[in-house]
């Protein structure tokens, strides 16, 4: 059975999306809908906004993000997610590995053309 582009993307998203969330949070605390809005700008990253929340719950459980509730001028109070020191370290580790990894994959694919 040949994989569809969607299933290939879904496989690649696993394990990568959480670091995209951490990278976004490095810019500052953010709330769920805002994070979803940033990630869903590129449909290859986030196809359904709801799938972000199990991921955020896992990140919180791992201690990579922490939450605080803040009042909003518009609408109900919001749960803000903040990157922790462990989360920042995990992001650094990912970023250090990602560059060489993505270059290697690109080289292999280029050579195979």
């Amino acid at each position: 059975m040949l994989p569809s582009p969607d299933s290939v993307q879904a496989q690649m998203r696993k394990g990568i999306l959480e670091f995209c969330v951490l990278a976004h949070l490095r810019c500052g605390p953010s709330y769920g809908r805002e994070i979803a809005g940033v990630l869903s700008r590129d449909p290859s990253l986030l196809t359904s906004e709801g799938t972000l929340y199990p991921l955020l719950a896992r990140l919180r459980k791992q201690g990579w993000v922490e939450t605080s509730r803040q009042a909003s001028e518009l609408g109900p109070p919001r749960r803000y997610y903040t990157l922790t020191a462990d989360g920042a370290a995990a992001l650094d580790a990912f970023a250090a590995a990602w560059g060489p990894f993505s270059r290697s994959v690109a080289t292999i694919l280029e050579d195979a053309r």
Binding site: K14, K61, S72, G75
Partner: protein, 187 residues
Amino acid sequence: MTSRPTHRISGPTQALIDAYLVDLEHALSGLEAGERDDVVGSVREHIETALSEYDHEPTVHEVEALLGQLGSVEQIARDAGDGTERSDRNPPDNGSREGGILVALAGLSLVLFWFPLVSVPLALGAGVAAAISLRGARDPAKRRYRIALTLSIATVLILFLLGLGLVAASSTGPVSEPIENVPAPTG
């Protein structure tokens, strides 16, 4: 504990949202209660925040579109399940199992301290491996590596002190007391 969005929501739209959240809760029944409540609460908050951005009462069509962007509850549950499976399968991957083995080896070296030819290499091996693995390790593996390292150091220290004691005892030798001349009894 449902906080209502800023805008008044009509019966049918509220029913849509409630049904979606109930379905989501059922779909996530495989998760721990705390994690399930966390996900459902976050999705509820997402909906409320989105609805508060409208400058009018959201229509059924708009709410349907919003729920469509969130995705099906099955899809969310599948993603949540994937993560749970990953996190269940992977903790030993971050060194928990290796940490446990090193603790066992270091503990064994301490128990066998009376057999230094066995316990010293065991303690040194476990200690060095634990010290190397400590770098970059995360809890709970980190804690296990620390325990292994402590046990290894304790073993080596005990053996060193024992050896020192034995060397000191053997080099001192028996103490000879001076012989006193006792005068012979007279009469």
